[in-house]
């Protein structure tokens, strides 16, 4: 087995950079670079030197012994100063050691998987965790990482096997005193599993939102203060504002963390009839993005007709609250009046929706869950045709079981491995 190494922290200048080495020669390599013996476990401060004894950097050297490491192999982590020159010098020195090579993307995780430290769904969870920016994303990734999906799939699989065995008894022990028609019982069991599968599959959409962020669009007529509101929420001048109507043309996106939820705010062009060709392009773009957003914030006057449909959870506010007499629901991007109310509304709606997310969070999960569900739907139809078709009904159930096994990689390992690791980047 080769010993592999790579930069484990992000590329580019930073305070500290982490270089990871894993494999049978990892400890040997640490010894070679640090020039003196190291304790088998724990953290040591050492000056790293190249093969000619020239100092490279002062570094913290962390030793892990397999199987008690991330990859399950002997592992070393060098925490060096995050300078591009230092990093490339250390990587260069490592590559000069015989038997060491630079890791392929995802190879550390692949080894963790191969050494039984993670299952496939956990690996997906890990990729998500690395990319997590907000609390809800972290939590979701953590459930996947701790094997939550495997637990669920195993439960459904067991339930299905139990349901199938009710039928199998009528088939394989037909010449003994056993029930002949078990359709109602089996059908009931299947319905329960189907409902679970469906709920979990539907949750994938929300879970994907949590991973990629919810979109909230600000819409309204020109000059009502949409861009000003966006800037206020973002806490910086992300969009140009002016007293001229029709200032914003492109959709401006700002990613932010609203009480732990990942949200992308969209500022859009003011909606109106115009002969301006470019502005019209902006307006139709605004409509499109507003339609597909998860939530819309309308800045409109009382009684004003909406040209975009208002949907469940959307909010309608009067603009420029600071220059209004009455104390109706209004917001001001200039003074911040009503902004807290707006934020609490958005987070409440999105939080409610997030509650629908389950453990399954990837398109791959949804497809597999749906195909299992499809099989069970067929099984139900066939069951109703009676014992004469029990052999076909159980085939549909077996097929569903197989889908669930694929969900966690119990079958078809090869394809799955390749698919999952293609989404990893170097050093993970």
């Amino acid at each position: 087995m080769d010993t592999i190494f790579a930069l484990a922290s992000a590329q580019g200048k930073a305070g500290v950079a982490v270089i990871r080495v894993s494999g049978p020669q990892a400890h040997q390599a640490a010894l070679q670079l640090s020039g003196s013996s190291l304790p088998r476990q724990g953290t040591t401060l050492r000056v790293l030197k190249d093969q000619f004894g020239n100092p490279l950097d002062e570094a913290l050297v962390l030793l892990f012994s397999g199987p008690h490491s991330f990859t399950g192999e002997n592992t070393v982590e060098f925490q060096v100063h995050g300078s591009i020159a230092v990093i490339s010098a250390v990587l260069q020195s490592l590559s000069e050691i015989d038997g060491l090579r630079i890791a392929e993307p995802g190879e550390f995780t692949r080894r963790a998987l191969e050494n039984g430290k993670l299952d496939l769904a956990q690996v997906e969870g890990l990729a998500d965790l690395i990319d997590a920016e907000t609390e809800s994303q972290r939590k979701q990734a953590q459930t996947l990482l701790s094997g939550g999906l495997g637990v669920l799939a195993e439960r459904w699989r067991r339930d299905l096997i139990r349901a199938a065995s009710l039928i199998e008894v009528t088939i394989d022990f037909a010449d003994e005193d056993v029930p002949v028609d078990v359709t109602p019982e089996v059908s009931g069991l299947l319905s329960g599993i189907q409902a679970d599968l469906q709920k979990e599959a539907e949750g994938v959409g929300i879970a994907e939102r949590i991973r990629h962020g919810f979109e909230v669009a600000i819409v309204g007529a020109p000059n009502v203060g949409k861009s000003t509101l966006l800037n206020m929420l973002a806490g910086r001048e992300a969009a140009i504002t002016s007293e001229y109507a029709g200032t914003t043309r492109d959709v401006i996106e700002v990613r932010m963390d609203l009480a732990g939820l990942p949200v992308t705010l969209l500022d859009t062009a003011g909606l109106r009839d115009t002969d301006d060709h470019v502005e019209n392009i902006g307006i139709s773009l605004a409509r499109k993005r507003a339609e597909s957003a998860d939530l819309r914030v309308f800045l409109v006057e009382k009684g004003e007709d909406l040209t975009i449909e208002m949907r469940d959870g959307d909010i309608r506010l009067l603009p420029k609250a600071d220059v209004r007499e009455n104390s109706e629901i209004a917001v001001s991007g200039k003074t911040g009046q009503g902004v807290d109310y707006l934020i609490s509304h958005i987070t409440r709606v999105l939080r409610d929706r997030s509650a629908g997310a389950g453990v399954a969070s990837h398109a791959r999960h949804r497809e597999t869950l749906n195909s299992a569900n499809e099989r069970l739907k067929n099984a139900q139809t066939i069951l109703l045709q009676g014992p004469e078709y029990y052999d076909i009904a159980t085939e549909e159930m077996r097929s569903a079981i197989r889908s669930l096994e694929m969900l966690v990689g119990r079958v078809g390992v090869e394809d799955l491995l390749d698919e999952i690791f293609s989404s990893f980047c170097l050093g993970k």
Partner: protein
């Protein structure tokens, strides 16, 4: 006494042994069938029936490979029933009550008539060895028989002990001595032995049974036979009787449980859950106040009755009492008491897919010695061992069966992958591809293999090829004609009016459509023979599922393509749990697909083996 030199020596003339000897002889190698007595050949130690669910599939497969069991059972059958007649054809199993005497006579006749096959009487007590290679057996009288391959099929005889109540004595089965010397010899090979048990009911004198109040179960009106070569029965037909145990029976058994060999602690071996003793049933299903008993005649002219459902190891006086408590059996005379037998079996995980024992060159094991129960399971293994021992003599490739082509393959894979924890019996639910592995298409699946091995009789070959011809042209006619929903409706076939054109095969899969409904629509089909019509219907019924399973089979084949070398060192893979490592080292899976089927195997474990395999191959490439 000096015998000539054989290619294959089969030890044991039971169901595994006869099938193995016939298979080897058909392959054209010089074969000896060594057994204690000539009269052992074709003996049914337990119930007088062949076939059943899963088992009937095995008999059909044996027959498709030109074996003998199906042909003999057809001759001996005195009551034929197709089990699961009201369920799908995939799970229907042919079964027959067999006349013991006819079965033995016919089996002996076929065996004596088989070319290249010689029956030798005697007890094998030792193996002749050179290095680690077996090349013969030594008989109890000191005679030696030389042979290149040995197939051991000694059934329940290895260190067999018979128990009736608290009395136990050594025995291979009632009336036979056990094989102790041979077992001791095998100890030297460090073969992993285990202990199993099975039981048999008392035999009754049918003339002392009061049949007048009992339900009778006749055979089917149109008997379904085992062999693809046969279409008529020859023995006179009889009915079975049906009676039930009652609360008084259960009371007697409960009171005497401590005197049962099994419950009294005289037996350590594990018995089959599927074929429990009456003691077991009374204890485990204490809420049931009655169990069904089939009274099966042992022959058309034999008065012996086999009461199926009350096998026991209780003392004789208790057997008398509980039998007499049963309706219709009040005055029944017991001809032979029921008994339990405990015996050695070899952990089948130490076998390769060709049933050769790893580490001992030239030795194959088949039948109950491998932890199975039942005649059909034994015979099917005999077929595998016989074909392979002969193939090896002829320097031919091993004949491997797979889960995707046969129940035989399922059984061999189950045994060699996960071993047994109780006597292994075949069920249709063991076969994940059971919609394709049907009793009715065993010939389509396996006869081509036997033809290509050159061990198929001319008669079967011709019959098979002609059937395939007719099937092929009928299916072609059905597949190449397409109909609109309107056309179908006018022929009285209700389909959704979706405008889709359907082929004749598609339409045949509909629940209410038979070949006869369709035949008027298509020219040239009215001459089709009835058996071809039925076969096409069955093929059509499952066509879409079989198509879907094909993809799964392909995926499995891909995994089977990752062959794991015999010297692959599982213990050196870091990251595998010790439990998995142990299992892998015992089973030594042949390929990745088999590894995946080991109980408790994890995806990560598989990924690990795959990664190691890939690394080894790329290393080899680099070195080359």
């Amino acid at each position: 006494m000096k015998h000539s030199i054989f290619d294959v020596i089969v030890v044991g003339g039971g169901h595994a042994g006869t099938e193995a000897a016939h298979a080897a002889a058909r392959m054209g190698v010089k074969t000896a069938l060594l057994t204690l007595h000539r009269r052992d050949i074709g003996v049914m130690s337990c119930n007088p029936a062949i076939g059943g669910l899963g088992k009937g599939h095995l008999v059909r497969e044996i027959d498709a490979l030109d074996g003998v069991m199906g042909r003999v059972a057809d001759k001996a059958g005195i009551q034929f029933r197709l089990l699961n007649r009201r369920k799908g054809p995939a799970v229907q199993g042919p079964r027959a009550q067999a006349d013991r005497a006819i079965y033995r006579t016919e089996m002996l006749k076929l065996t004596e008539a088989q070319e290249n096959l010689q029956i030798v009487e005697g007890e094998a007590v030792d193996f002749l060895m050179s290095d680690n290679c077996i090349n013969g057996v030594v008989l109890s009288d000191g005679a030696e028989i030389h042979g290149r391959k040995i197939i051991l099929t000694s059934g329940t005889f290895l260190r067999g002990v018979i128990h009736i109540g608290d009395i136990s004595r050594p025995g291979g089965r009632m009336g036979d001595r056990p094989s102790v010397k041979l077992a001791e010899r095998m100890d030297d090979f460090e073969v992993p032995f285990g202990r199993l048990k099975t039981g048999t009911p008392p035999r009754l004198d049918g003339r002392t049974i009061d049949w007048s109040g009992l339900d009778l179960q006749p055979g089917d009106d149109d008997p379904t036979l085992f062999s693809f070569l046969n279409n008529r029965i020859s023995a006179p037909q009889v009915s079975c009787g049906i009676t039930h145990t009652n609360e008084r029976t259960h009371d007697i058994i409960q009171k005497n449980l401590s005197r049962s060999a099994m419950y009294g602690g005289h037996i350590d071996g594990v018995g089959p859950r599927y074929c429990p003793s009456i003691e077991d049933k009374v204890v485990r299903f204490s809420d049931k106040s009655s169990h069904q008993i089939f009274l099966e005649p042992e022959g058309a002219t034999d008065h012996t009755i086999y009461p199926n459902g009350i096998s026991t190891s209780l003392p004789e006086d208790v057997q008398e009492d509980y039998v007499h408590s049963i309706f219709g059996l009040e005055n029944a005379v017991i001809l032979q008491p029921g008994y339990a037998i405990e015996y050695d079996y070899v952990d089948p995980r130490s076998l390769s897919l060709d049933l050769s024992l790893r580490g001992v060159e030239g030795l194959y094991l088949a039948g109950q010695i491998n932890g199975t129960t039942g005649y059909e399971e034994a015979a099917a293994q005999g077929m595998v061992a016989g074909l392979n021992a002969a193939a090896s003599c002829l320097d031919k490739e091993p004949v491997n069966f797979s889960r995707s082509n046969s129940y035989i393959g399922v059984m061999i894979d189950d045994l060699t992958t996960n071993g047994v924890t109780e006597p292994y019996r075949m069920f249709t639910s063991r076969a994940e591809f059971r919609l394709s592995l049907r009793a009715d298409n065993a010939d389509q699946r396996l006869t081509p293999i036997s033809i290509s091995l050159g061990c198929c009789s001319q008669e079967r070959k011709e019959k098979f090829l002609s059937k395939m011809d007719q099937l092929g042209s009928t299916k072609y006619a059905l597949e190449s004609s397409k109909y609109t929903p309107k056309q179908l409706l006018s022929a009285g076939i209700k389909v959704s009016q979706d405008g889709n054109r359907r082929t004749g095969m598609d339409v045949l899969a509909f629940p209410d459509v038979t070949f006869e409904t369709l035949a008027p629509l298509i020219t040239g089909l009215d001459q089709t023979k009835p058996e071809i019509r039925r076969q096409v219907e069955r093929d059509a019924l499952y066509a879409t599922y079989i198509e879907r399973q094909k993809r799964e089979i392909d995926a499995m084949k891909r995994d089977e393509g990752h062959v794991i070398p015999v010297d692959f060192d599982f213990s050196s893979i870091s990251g595998l749990s010790n439990e998995l490592k142990t299992k892998l080292c015992v089973t030594k899976p042949h390929d990745l697909a088999q590894a995946a089927r080991i109980d408790g195997m994890t995806p990560a474990g598989l990924a690990l083996i795959l990664a190691r395999l890939r690394r080894d191959t790329s290393q080899k490439k680099r070195e080359a």
